[in-house]
Amino acid sequence: MLKKSLIAFAVSGLLIAPAHAEVQINGFASIKAGMTLDSDDELYGYTNDLDFKNESLMALQVRSDLGEKLSVTAQLMGRGNNDFDIGFEWAFITYQLNDNTMINAGRLRGPFYKYSEYKDVGYAYDWSRVPRSVYGLGFDNIEGISVYRTDIIAGFDSTLIAMYGGYDGTTGLGDGQLDGFVGASWELSRDWYNFRIAYYNADASLTFANQDANNLLGALNANGFAALAEEIDFDKDKGTFFGIGAGIDRENLVIVAEYNRTEVDNTLFANRENYFISVAYRLGSITPYISHEWERHDSKPEIYQPYQNLASTPLAPLYFGAVATVESQAKEADTLNIGLRYDFHSSAAFKLQYTSQKNKLLDTRVGLLVAGVDLVF
């Protein structure tokens, strides 16, 4: 409720903006065409049929300066994979507390990763998309309040974002919510190198999109295994995110690496470790790059192991159901990306990227080719 009213508050700010207010309108768009290279393969929403919608998007941002250090910003976005239905991706009011401190309230982007706040603005980075297996929480936005502060500390440019709020909507595993989301991201940069660290936690609740998992929980509870059900379900269970990153940008050589770890206690959520490294080299208006992503999701057999003597009883289906549900969270995949960015226009970049993802548990490999244009206006 609080969240909805925050958005309404931000949007109403746009409507009540005085007539003389300075209004800036900016936008960005990506038009991407792609397909996997083998008939049955799927990756990131692409299939073997050439598709122009999946990763295409358009966004319009309106910012109005209300004076007295107050401004309001709304970003409307339509994504091709959602039939370009327009929604508020961001909607917030900003209060400029002083020269280097800003307070934002409304719908904001959770600053988990180095590129997460502008991951939709393809023009802002070289890749065709941010490293998807590393940036894989399954949701982007937080409704709440953030403090954005810039300083100069021992010669480093410091950027700190602290955030408090919540989330209500789809996640990677089903519809759910995050309560008491709190944490901070801190970045230090100097000349040609930078570092970053982020930590967030929240209480996570959700209903599995997978109906078999919900049925299993019901059966466990009905048969007196509520304790096991609690180890599997998400019911205000504490989730933590920890991420670090570093980058250099020197003499046209750009290297970026990030690592993150996500855990949700007392749920089937695997202990996830994801990391990537990317190397790019600017040759005038053409920037070729190569990156590698590692996805390591360790399932939690300790959830079902104490119950293994059920396997030889009439309740065996419950035990094996729990095993299958918990183990479904295991994942081990490596992804290689090779591509280039070509700045063919002062506001637009053409990108071509080949992605090869190997699922190490199933020993399968999927290839994907995507070409497109990212622009800002």
Binding site: E117, Y123, A124, Y148, S346, A349
Partner: protein, 135 residues
């Protein structure tokens, strides 16, 4: 002799035409370093050394001094700068400096505003503004 001096002045002035002069209002007594310029024009600072508010003014894209300023002072290509600003604009963290049409427009704005800081080709400098540094 006078001819030689005239020739020398001509050669010198011709030589400095490619340079850019960073200018402020004559009433502004602040020292501005290359680091300060970087921070002001990249939106990481918004005041001068003495704490007064600074309003950076950019030249519009395509102006000779703009390209020079981007590459010599900010050490970035125009595409890199556009990518940099799009990160800030679309995350609500900042807006790029206002762009002025040409040297004359920057000079007039700086002459009229004690908070303004801009840059123009050295050859366009006159007494209405104060040069704090050249590149």
């Amino acid at each position: 002799m006078i001819q030689k001096i005239a020739l020398l002045v001509f050669v010198l002035s011709f030589g400095v035409q490619a340079d850019i002069a960073v200018i402020v209002n004559p009433a502004n007594a602040n020292v501005v370093s290359a680091d300060d310029l970087n921070r002001l024009f990249l939106g990481r600072a918004s005041s001068f050394a003495d704490g007064t508010k600074a309003t950076p003014l950019n030249l519009s894209e395509g102006q000779v001094a703009r390209d020079e300023f981007d590459s010599k002072v900010l050490n970035r290509s125009s595409a890199q700068l556009k990518a940099y600003w799009s990160k800030l604009v679309f995350t609500g963290k900042g807006t790029p400096p206002k762009e002025m049409a040409d040297d004359a427009a920057v000079k007039a704005a700086v002459a009229a505003d004690p908070n303004a800081i801009g840059y123009i080709s050295s050859g366009s400098v006159d007494g209405t503004v104060k040069v704090v540094t050249t590149f």
